[in-house]
């Protein structure tokens, strides 16, 4: 698991004192090299702890439990309701529908936010012009935009995709700007010394250097769609995972709400791994930087 780390800024650092001896001893060591299997195992522990807690609060008859089954069903009950979700509620089809909506909304969102983000990162005037909008966007309670997209784009597929695209754009523009911003000035100065034009400075220096960060931004951004899928699918409910959740809230079974949540987490996990793998393939040098 890697996360975006801002590129070191500024010129040559002053000589630093070496790390204290304690940094590399004991159970917790700073920036310790960890074999992959250990990292996996450690990652598994909190999940198991959470599961154990879940079992603990939902053991016994309905009236004996810490949390009533009308609020939280037990893991066994959730698993037992899986066939119903799979067959009666057509899980795979709804999953495919939701996934495709996220993909479409994402593609459209990138189409809008990528050029805007890069231009804002490169040109201060563009940045000055659009920064207030992106700040508003970040603070905007997105749910209130549902009726607006409804009257603009109808109730069909278009409305859902446009709504997701909007949510994606609002989230990703600042990330793209930051990615371009993070490019060290030295690279630009070197390019100018070599006689680069304005277009070359953007196309050959700013963009290529920020690609890994832009990729990282898209990887983070893709997950956001899943948190908005419920809102996007509030209208013309019926198909999609959001529809399953909304329906289960109203007429049960409660189990399906949690089951869908687990499924979304699994999907998020797999897609995130895919993003990371493609990232490693495209930008092997990013890993080497470490």
């Amino acid at each position: 698991m890697t996360t975006a780390a801002p590129a070191p800024a500024g010129g040559p650092a002053p000589p630093r004192p070496g790390p204290p001896a304690s940094a590399h001893t004991g159970f917790l060591r700073i920036r310790e090299e960890l074999p992959a299997w250990k990292a996996w195992l450690l990652g598994l522990l909190p999940v198991l702890a959470l599961l154990a807690l879940w079992v603990f609060v939902t053991t016994g008859t309905a009236e004996e439990r810490v949390i009533s089954p009308t609020i939280l069903p037990s893991p066994a009950e959730v698993v037992a309701s899986f066939p119903l979700l799979w067959f009666d509620r057509a899980l795979t089809r709804n999953l495919a529908v939701s996934f495709w909506r996220v993909v479409e909304g994402f593609a459209l969102g990138v189409l809008i936010s990528f050029p805007l983000g890069v231009l804002m990162g490169a040109f201060t005037k563009v940045k000055g012009a659009f920064t207030p909008l992106t700040v508003f966007g970040a603070y905007l309670p997105i749910p209130t935009l549902v009726p607006l997209t409804l009257s603009l784009f109808g109730t069909g597929e278009l409305q859902k995709v446009m709504f997701l695209a909007l949510a994606f754009s609002i989230y990703m523009v600042p990330l793209f700007v930051a990615a371009v911003d993070a490019v060290d000035d030295t690279y630009l100065k070197t390019a100018y010394t070599l006689g680069a034009s304005k277009g070359q400075a953007v196309g050959r220096v700013l963009l290529p250097i920020s690609w890994p960060e832009i990729w990282q931004a898209m990887r983070l951004g893709f997950g956001v769609g899943w948190s908005y899928i419920l809102l996007a699918e509030m209208v013309d409910v019926g198909r999609g995972l959001g529809g399953i959740i909304i329906t289960s809230q109203r007429r049960g079974p409660r189990e399906h709400i949690y089951l869908v949540l687990v499924i979304i987490v699994l999907v998020a996990f797999v897609t995130d791994k895919l993003w990371a793998a493609v990232g490693r393939f495209l930008f092997p040098y990013r890993e080497a930087k470490r």
């Binding site: 008859t61 309905a62 009236e63 004996e64 009533s68 089954p69 009308t70 609020i71 799979w86 067959f87 009666d88 509620r89 057509a90 795979t92 089809r93 709804n94 495919a96 549902v146 009726p147 409804l150 009257s151 109808g154 109730t155 069909g156 509030m234 209208v235 013309d236 409910v237 019926g238 529809g243 909304i246 329906t247 809230q249 109203r250 007429r251 049960g252 079974p253 409660r254």
Partner: protein, 575 residues
């Protein structure tokens, strides 16, 4: 040069192999498609229309108008197990009572003197506890707060309770106990249509948008079923709330109808050209009942608080009879909702508060055509046929009339008389049929040849009547089906039109005689309904059409279809 002996397939071979494996996977996926990606079960299920009327066993003897339930609620209600799990302070005694934005809560707001718990409220002064009214408009949030024990009470319509009950009853402590009906929706819910849709039957093949799992869904599907339209022949579009349904209808011209709430249902026809109101709960004024339920554990521990809540709400209704008190209540409600008093006043016509006498009719009168039992069974039927619920809850597992019965014995509210019964002036069929009906329900009663008696017994070979038999054994169930529709449309006028077959046409039978027979049969249906369900006779107008109007003009000789009675619901004459 050394030739490395080639092992394994060539590049082309690899490609073919790869494609072959891919094809195998695709083939397997296709073969097992129903397993991997099942189509699911949704509203497209075919409803067995004949089952619609068979929701209860035929009852041929029920002639009396009021027949009270004889059992004690505690015998049928599920027992409460375990330790109570709601939050309660024995010194503060504050009942958490969430409500939604709905004028039907005006009596409790009036009784409580606003939303916050108050020592000056009727509840505190007369019954010794306080009530905290909280605005929780989202039914899912209200349900979750109820399940978690944060609130003691759950607001809802009876149809919502049908959907919530199975899950809430998984824990006997949060099982809902319905103690009181607060109001009937009376103009608050409605259906707006586009274009030339004149009657519910015209919705066949059209697109309807509404909030799923809400009163809207019950409203429209109940109408479709009553009009003999398979819900699967209508294209249903679902939204999460009624507000979005109205917005979707306005935005999307391809949608032919929407089910929504006031004020949207009245605003849309004013603002959007070519739209009109098809029907509202102003006519179907006994279809959507607003009730409140208490947690079973709370009701068990604090029966006196439950009784006080029921009584206090009736006191609030008394209080509202006074104009100044009413204005005050509007003001309190406006403050609680964050609205203007004018906006609250404008909602006044959306609901009809149900007083003590009306609650008695709803909970206790087994013969009332729109009582709790029938409403609950009707909702259950509609939702089960749509595939929305699997194991429905029985009405007597949630209905608790114990508090009402105690108040009845004490005679505390004997002064509150039934105000919900509409009065009708006799009208002719010709007059009311000038407009198109909201919906027409076709029923078939097998009449004995040349007889107009719906309860005609069977006859032996010599033509002598056999005692305790019925020529049409399902006649009571058929009448029950009509009674439910007519009961739901309490304020509407109803035409009962008899038709005969044309088997004797041109065989010396005079048309006048046939017409008279069909008219007598329609009259017999009307009389049977009036007698058993205590309807106002003037609500009905009767007509006999003889053999003039075959059921299916393309198949006029289908005599089994032709022998029928059509019950049409017409909007009440505008006053």
């Amino acid at each position: 040069m050394e030739e490395q002996p080639k092992v394994g397939p060539t590049a082309l071979g690899k490609l073919i192999l790869f494609l072959f494996v891919l094809a195998c996977i695709a083939g397997a996926a296709y073969y097992f498609r129903d397993m991997l990606a099942p189509g699911g079960r949704d509203g497209s299920a075919q409803v067995n229309m004949d089952e619609f009327k068979k929701v209860e066993a035929p009852d041929t003897k029920g002639i009396t108008t009021v027949s009270e339930y004889k059992y004690v609620p505690g015998e049928k209600l599920p027992p409460v197990k375990g330790v109570s799990a709601y939050k309660w302070s024995a010194t503060e005694k504050v009942v958490n009572f969430p409500i939604n934005v709905w004028i039907g809560w005006l009596p409790i707001v009036a009784a409580n003197g606003g939303f916050s718990p108050s020592a000056d409220s009727i509840f505190a002064k007369k019954y010794g506890f306080k009530v905290n009214l909280k605005l929780i408009d989202d039914p899912v949030v209200a349900r979750d707060a109820f399940a978690a024990g944060e609130s003691h009470v759950l607001w809802g319509t009876l149809d919502m309770m049908v959907l919530f009950a199975p899950d809430l009853m998984k824990d006997s402590r949060s099982a809902p106990r319905i103690f009181q009906q607060v109001d009937w929706s009376s103009g608050g819910d409605g259906i707006v249509v586009r274009g030339n849709i004149a009657s519910v039957a015209d919705l066949k093949g059209k697109t309807v948008v509404y909030a799923q799992n809400s009163p809207s869904q019950y409203f429209i599907n109940n109408l479709l079923l009553n009009a003999g339209v398979q819900p699967s022949t209508v294209k249903h579009k679902f939204t999460a709330t009624a507000f979005e349904a109205a917005a979707a209808f306005v935005a999307d011209k391809s949608i032919d109808a929407c089910v929504s709430w006031a004020p949207d249902i009245y605003n849309i026809p004013e603002k959007v050209k070519g739209t009109r109101v098809l029907t509202t709960t102003a006519e179907a004024n006994k279809l959507i009942a607003d009730v409140w339920a208490a947690r079973a554990d709370f009701a068990k521990d604090h029966p006196e608080v439950i009784k006080g809540l029921v009584a206090g709400i009736f006191d609030g209704m008394d209080r509202l009879a006074d104009a100044t008190q009413r204005e005050k209540a509007y003001q309190w409600m406006a403050e609680g909702y964050g609205m203007q008093a004018d906006e609250v006043r404008a909602m006044a016509q959306d609901a009809h508060s149900t007083n003590f006498a009306e609650n008695k009719a709803f909970f206790l009168n087994a013969n009332d055509p729109a009582n709790f039992e029938r409403s609950w069974k009707n909702v259950t039927f509609v939702y089960r046929e749509l595939g929305l619920i699997d194991t429905p809850v029985r009405f007597d597992e949630v209905m608790d009339f114990s508090a009402l019965q105690e108040l009845d014995k004490a005679g505390s509210f004997a002064h509150q008389k039934d105000e919900s019964r509409a009065s009708f002036a006799a009208t002719s069929y010709k007059k009311i049929s000038a407009e198109s009906p909201i919906l027409t329900q076709t029923i078939r009663i097998n009449f004995y040849p040349n007889s107009a008696n719906v309860f005609e017994p069977q006859h032996d070979e010599s033509g002598k009547a056999i005692a305790n038999t019925l020529y049409d054994p399902s006649v009571a169930a058929t009448l029950e089906k009509v009674a439910r529709l007519v009961g739901q449309y309490e304020r509407a006028v109803v035409a009962v039109v008899g038709h005969t077959d044309s088997s004797m046409k041109g065989k010396g039978t005079r048309f006048e005689d046939v017409k008279a027979l069909s008219s007598d049969r329609a009259e017999a249906v009307k009389q049977a309904l009036v007698k058993k369900y205590n309807f106002d006779p003037n609500k009905f107008s009767v007509e006999g059409k003889g053999w003039d109007e075959p059921a299916n003009p393309d198949d006029p000789m289908n005599q089994a279809l032709n022998r029928r009675v059509e019950v049409s619901v017409y909007p009440p004459e505008s006053k």
